[in-house]
Symmetry: C2
Subunit: 236 residues, 2 copies
Amino acid sequence: MRYELYYWPQIQGRGEFVRLAFEEAGADYTDVARTPGGEDKMIRLMQENGAKTPPFAPPFLKAGKLLIAQTANILLYLGERLALAPKPQAGRLWVHQLQLTVADLVVEVHDTHHPIASGLYYEDQKAEAARRAEDFREQRAPKYFAYFERVLSSSGGPYLTGRRATYADLSLFQVVAGIGYAFPQLSKRLAKRHPNISRLQSRVAERPRIAAYLNSERRIPFKETGIFRAYHELDG
Amino acid sequence: MRYELYYWPQIQGRGEFVRLAFEEAGADYTDVARTPGGEDKMIRLMQENGAKTPPFAPPFLKAGKLLIAQTANILLYLGERLALAPKPQAGRLWVHQLQLTVADLVVEVHDTHHPIASGLYYEDQKAEAARRAEDFREQRAPKYFAYFERVLSSSGGPYLTGRRATYADLSLFQVVAGIGYAFPQLSKRLAKRHPNISRLQSRVAERPRIAAYLNSERRIPFKETGIFRAYHELDG
């Protein structure tokens, strides 16, 4: 089956978590909004009144007759099909739990530059962003990193569930890489204290299909319209 | 099987979404942290180094040998076991998608009073809260309500998937009720424009087990330490 991913074509955003899963699995997928006319098609699909399972927002996935939205939900579905999650229920739930925790971290990173309104410019909420980013650097990021470090340490590594990479590993890689781009100073401090997370970053980046993807034109660069933004003043 | 729910005993919070599912199903569950010594037990469980699937934060669930965290993940598991979700994959994914969208709305409501840091008092972020709440009233809440109204309208109602209540209906009920408590003026305006959501509220509240629960001492009241806070100045 050819999967159709629908996501904003200019940014990594939340779509990137799905792209990484497809790339790792070598899956047959189209990143529809990056094809000619695709972005209009995505917007039409979102507004279509007949849709049985309409998305609130991109990303969403067409897989045969299924239309699935919400990043973690898409990965729950793909995890099973692309062998990026354990088959037994306990393992599936655990990987999904980890993914939802990554998703919470993603919201918190996003809100460092948009604490007031996603519809306003960063320039219109810079003072608030400075305060929120400080809390992120001092409280929130260390808490999440300590958690994932602990999980990696007790799994035996190099991955969150042990020796096999799951979609949650790819997602953790992505958010940690994004924090590395947005908060280079913070990231250096965190990397020192969390050797298992640093090892996960290398291991994921070295996986042959991920390495090929990261070097390809399919990988959209980090940029200041995405979730992870290199605003020097927020890095403390 | 007797389920054990672990959540902060003083507030509805995110645990309430799980409590509502248990109550609707008439399930055999213990709200552990509300029993003598239970809160300490919860904290010990979170810090336990041997846990294979440690929670990042409450709520979490013990179900036999499983330890499951993340509200939406707990409901994904319980939905199947308590007959609060369709059995076929397409229906299960759709209900989970709806639940994750409710969860996004819950974060946005919470952040109206805590836009800067959940570790600071409201009083330390009142100015920022006023700005964020304005955006919530004008942009975000209307967008979510329009979405759920559309889903209810195309399902034929009274529930999100049609004639049977799922855990996503209980969760939507809870967040809409919470917004009613926190933002009474906003809620009146929203209710007028979204008759299907209003109908859902009544239908859920009238379900016999939910009605009994809401009238019982098991239902913790809304209060200003929870997600939904009646701060008059944020209601515009």
